[in-house]
């Protein structure tokens, strides 16, 4: 790979404006006459909302659900087609009941945010408090108060995957049981949510400029809530300051802002502040597992059985629903391993906390945390190194492509080799030697591994199976040659840090040879781009990048046809290469062909395709099962047994993204994912008290890994192209975040082994480590 096409490590086109402070994020937008919004949010977790006290002086500036309902605005509704799913209805502001602290109950309008907050401080509401469901297991017990009173219990959905295998279980030589909890996290892009809503009098459209990963889906959801046809709504994502899932939903605040802009005939702006985000959007990754692995005496897995609970919060979010996460747990808990018996029951539990949103990797960081602890447990039980047990159980390359026990179709790769390379790269032998000598500072050294595979670029069947409001599978891109020979690309996905303005240009350059600086990507705007479900699930490069390639290939045919005519050659004897059509020794540039098409059509062949130099092409991978990138992460830690502090002293990722369009960007995605995974593993937690009050509402309480918590992260690449996609690309955006918590947990337990202590819940805080050491001391 060379030049600036697919595989080149080129700098990003988007960097310059961002480095000069010349990007345009939603909070940077100011429209003439724009008003600012502040929300009044529920101070209690579960209560009947009896009414409001609003001083007369500000009554005109305060709106509640009653005002929206009067205009026919409907609650947000995200049902699933899975049998037994219970539907929640989420009014954009609470109507008769509040169900979590931070739920919007009224909105205040003023000329500045500060004045809007002044008004919000004057609004009070009367509540009849109800018993609060804080813990997902307690919420499942008979007699728990019901979050949605017309339901028979607090479970959105119960699923069962596989079948029980009591005979195999009873005869298994090795049995490893774990009870594992992972904490509720805040997704926390550094830019929060935000929206500017206005009415465009010329196009007669509601225009929503909003920090979203999925403008087309937001438009559909808004249309359903507001009763406005979709052609009368335009959703635009400006520069977006990170998403990771938090910007992949229709937000209640978007519905309110849109309604207000129409109602008041004035632009309105709402910018989520950090405290709102930490309180009302603490919404990811809270799971509980009871799990048992069965193995033979060598450590070969015989079966896994599990009961998993996911705290899905109070409402089903649009479009992913409240069941996506738990349903994924059931289907992906087996990880990259091959075994014969599996049974998993899952419960999506409704509690008095914010609704859950799929966060980078969705349920994978959790199930990886679980299955990788089991692998290490088995290794310990059979007296082998955990890497040997991993290699013994991973799907071997000779069986690829492989359909696993839950029907996941692993496309390609050498999973065991990623383990072997990680073991060599982390110098396992050296770490073991170091462990045999006591550290001068008394700290304990440990090494841990975690392996996963990650389904990206999901197809139609799996989402159709879940029956949620959004089903992906195809993607389109528009490619248009400009009259001076440049190229405009239009895609419906949205780039918020992934560098698509660069990577999609690299794909187009690969096909057409137009230089990167003459290629412009237009994205994230329903008015300008083809429909797309948006940027999520490690899909954009494979799906929209594939569609860019398709469109450019069609363009190439048309360019070749015209170019050949200008060269007085036959199209069959002409090639498009290096930005020119060539035949024999003669050539004509794309710029000259473009000039001919747009400005001198009298020179065109008479039978030229009148569709011209503008194409909408589509892409669907050859397999509907998506791509499977994979990796093994290896961590070396030093644990202070007196203080419980953990230092990560080495971290290595050996990954296979198939064909990388831009290795620099792939590595950046992995680095960032690992940092987030370190947060999951060691630091991040949104705790709640017994009344459902969130206890982490500032960055002093909610610990985000910083420069000194994240080590230098080493990345090694393997290259197994997917057989099903353009260029062999695989989705990679989420992968880095999947394995760190698992690798760190295994490393910490390796360090604690001399003390007989074991940790199994995330985050692995100093307090938990000290408690584990104390418990081990008590039992010895």
């Amino acid at each position: 790979m060379q030049g600036t096409g697919v595989g080149a490590r080129v700098r990003r086109k988007e960097d310059d404006r961002l480095l000069r402070g010349r990007g345009r994020f939603v909070a940077d937008i100011a429209l003439v006459g724009m008003r600012e919004l502040a929300f009044v949010r529920s101070p209690v977790a579960h209560a009947r909302l009896r009414g409001f006290e609003i001083p007369d002086a500000v009554r005109h500036a305060v709106f509640t659900w009653a005002d929206l309902a009067q205009d026919g605005v409907k609650p947000i509704r995200a049902a699933s087609g899975l049998p037994g799913f219970k539907v929640s209805e989420q009014p954009a502001m609470a109507s008769d009941k509040v169900r979590f602290v931070g739920e919007p109950i009224a909105v205040c309008v003023a000329d500045s945010r500060a004045e809007a907050e002044d008004i919000a401080a004057l609004v009070s509401a009367e509540f009849d408090e109800l018993p609060v469901n804080v813990d997902m297991l307690a919420a499942c017990e008979a007699g728990a108060s019901r979050v949605h009173e017309h339901w028979k219990d607090n479970v959105f959905l119960e699923t069962s995957v596989g079948t029980p295998f009591p005979a195999v279980a009873a005869a298994a030589p090795v049995k490893v049981c774990r009870t594992i909890r992972t904490a509720r996290q805040c997704i926390l892009p550094l830019e929060g949510k935000g929206v500017v809503a206005s009415w465009d009098r010329q196009t007669e459209q509601l225009v929503l400029q909003t920090a979203t990963q999925m403008p087309h889906i937001v438009r559909s959801g808004l249309s359903e809530c507001l009763g406005v046809p979709q052609d009368a709504i335009r959703v635009i994502a400006p520069d977006v300051g990170g998403g990771f899932g938090w910007k992949g939903l229709l937000q209640p605040e978007e519905v309110v802002a849109a309604w207000l802009a129409m109602r008041m005939d004035q632009p309105v702006r709402w910018i989520e502040d950090r405290r709102e985000h930490l309180v009302a959007a603490a919404n990811a990754r809270e799971h509980h597992y009871e799990v048992t692995a069965y193995a033979d005496a060598r450590g070969k897995l015989l079966g896994v059985e599990a009961t998993a609970h996911v705290d899905a919060g109070a409402y089903s979010i649009y479009p992913f629903s409240a069941c996506l996460e738990a349903a994924q747990v059931g289907s992906i808990l087996p990880g990259p391993y091959e075994f014969s018996h599996y049974h998993c029951r899952t419960y999506s539990v409704c509690t008095n906390k914010p609704p859950i949103v799929p966060y980078r990797g969705v349920a994978r960081p959790n199930v990886c945390f679980v299955i990788e602890q089991l692998i290490d447990g088995i290794a310990q039980a059979v007296g082998r190194e955990s890497w040997e047990v991993r290699v013994e159980n991973l799907v071997p390359p000779g069986k690829m492509p492989f359909d696993n026990i839950t029907g996941k179709h692993f496309d390609s790769g050498d999973y065991p080799e990623s383990v072997r390379r990680a073991v060599a790269g982390i110098d396992l032998a050296g770490v073991r030697a170091r462990q045999r000598q006591n550290e001068p500072d008394g700290r304990l050294i440990g090494v841990g591994l975690a392996t996963y595979c990650e389904q990206g670029a999901h197809g139609t069947a799996v989402y159709h199976g879940w029956g949620i409001p959004m089903v992906p599978g195809h993607e389109q891109a528009q490619a248009r040659i400009t009259p001076d020979g440049g190229l405009e690309l239009r895609v419906g996905v949205q780039s918020h840090g992934q560098g698509m303005e660069t990577t999609f240009a690299q794909v187009a350059h690969e096909v057409l040879g137009i230089p990167l600086e003459r290629i412009r990507l237009i994205h994230g705007d329903t008015g300008l781009t083809p429909y797309s479900t948006g940027t999520w699930g490690s899909r954009s490069m494979v799906m929209a990048g594939g569609a860019v390639a398709t469109s450019c290939r069609i363009l190439a045919q048309r360019l070749r046809r015209i170019g050949a005519h200008l060269l007085q050659a036959s199209p069959e004897d002409s090639v498009l290469a290096g930005g020119c059509v060539r035949s024999g020794g003669a050539e004509v540039s794309i710029a000259e062909i473009a000039h001919t098409w747009y400005r001198a059509p009298q020179l065109l062949p008479l039978d030229v395709d009148p569709a011209g130099l503008e194409v909408t092409g589509g892409h669907k991978p050859k397999s509907d099962h998506g791509t499977f990138s994979y990796a093994t992460h290896a961590a070396v830690v030093a644990v202070d047994p007196e203080l419980g502090l953990v230092d990560i002293i080495d971290y290595l990722v050996v990954e296979d993204a198939g064909t990388m369009v831009n290795p620099m960007i792939v590595e950046g995605q992995i680095h960032g994912g690992v940092a987030q995974g370190i947060g999951t593993g060691l630091y991040e937690c949104s705790p709640y008290d017994n009344e459902g009050q969130p206890l982490a509402s500032t960055f002093m309480d909610y610990l985000v890994p910083g420069f000194t918590e994240v080590p230098h992260i080493r990345v090694e690449h393997m290259h197994t192209p997917s057989p099903y996609t353009e260029f062999g690309m695989k989705g990679i955006g989420e992968g880095g975040a999947i394995a760190p918590a698992a690798a760190l947990c295994n490393a910490i337990n390796d360090a604690l082994r001399p003390l007989g202590a074991i940790v199994s819940d995330a985050p692995i805080t100093p307090r938990r480590i000290l408690a584990a050491i104390e418990a081990a001391g008590a039992t010895r």
């Binding site: 990003r12 480095l19 000069r20 500045s112 500060a114 892009p189 830019e191 300051g241 950046g668 910083g706």
Partner: protein
């Protein structure tokens, strides 16, 4: 425009080399003053409680959190934002290195990173990676895992050492 509120205060200061007099209120923080009144939207607000560092600007040459600095407290002082680094030599070197080392993804934390890095480059020409991490630990990034940022700053330091 709206009428000035009754508690309006005027403040005169220098922003990116330009002297100006602004009207603000006692509770308005410097970041809102810069963003909403001066339309210098390069300074970003990530937390508004002085932790994330996205809003870091230079006040008389030293980095401060503009979200916990009142605009009225800047009377007679000089503020430099990321826009003010446009023609600055260290600013240019940092921009080049951040791009080359992939030290930014979404770009939201980037202005604050550049300001903090500018201060580091001026004060600590011999900083090693560990010191870079310690000095930059008042700035949060959710995208890059910090690898590219540390690399970028080290490249600038190394390059300047070569020219000393």
């Amino acid at each position: 425009m709206n009428a000035a509120p009754s508690n309006a205060r005027s403040v005169s200061l220098t922003v990116n080399g330009r002297r100006l007099v602004g009207v603000t209120t006692p509770r308005t923080h410097l970041a809102d003053f810069l963003r909403e009144q001066q339309r210098l939207t390069g300074t970003h607000l990530g937390c508004e409680h002085g932790v994330c560092g996205a809003c870091t600007v230079l006040l008389d040459g030293e980095p401060v959190r503009s979200c916990i600095t009142y605009a009225v407290a800047c009377e007679g002082r000089s503020v430099t934002t990321v826009e003010g680094l446009a023609d600055d030599e260290i600013g240019a070197a940092l921009r080049e290195a951040f791009s080359a080392a992939h030290g930014l993804q979404c770009g939201f934390c980037t202005p604050g990173m550049l300001i903090s890095a500018w201060d580091l480059v001026r004060r600590l020409p011999d900083a090693d990676d560990a010191r870079i991490r310690l000095e930059m630990s008042g700035n949060l990034c959710r995208c890059t895992g910090y690898v590219g940022i540390v690399e970028a700053i080290r490249r600038v330091l190394d390059d300047r050492k070569g020219h000393r």
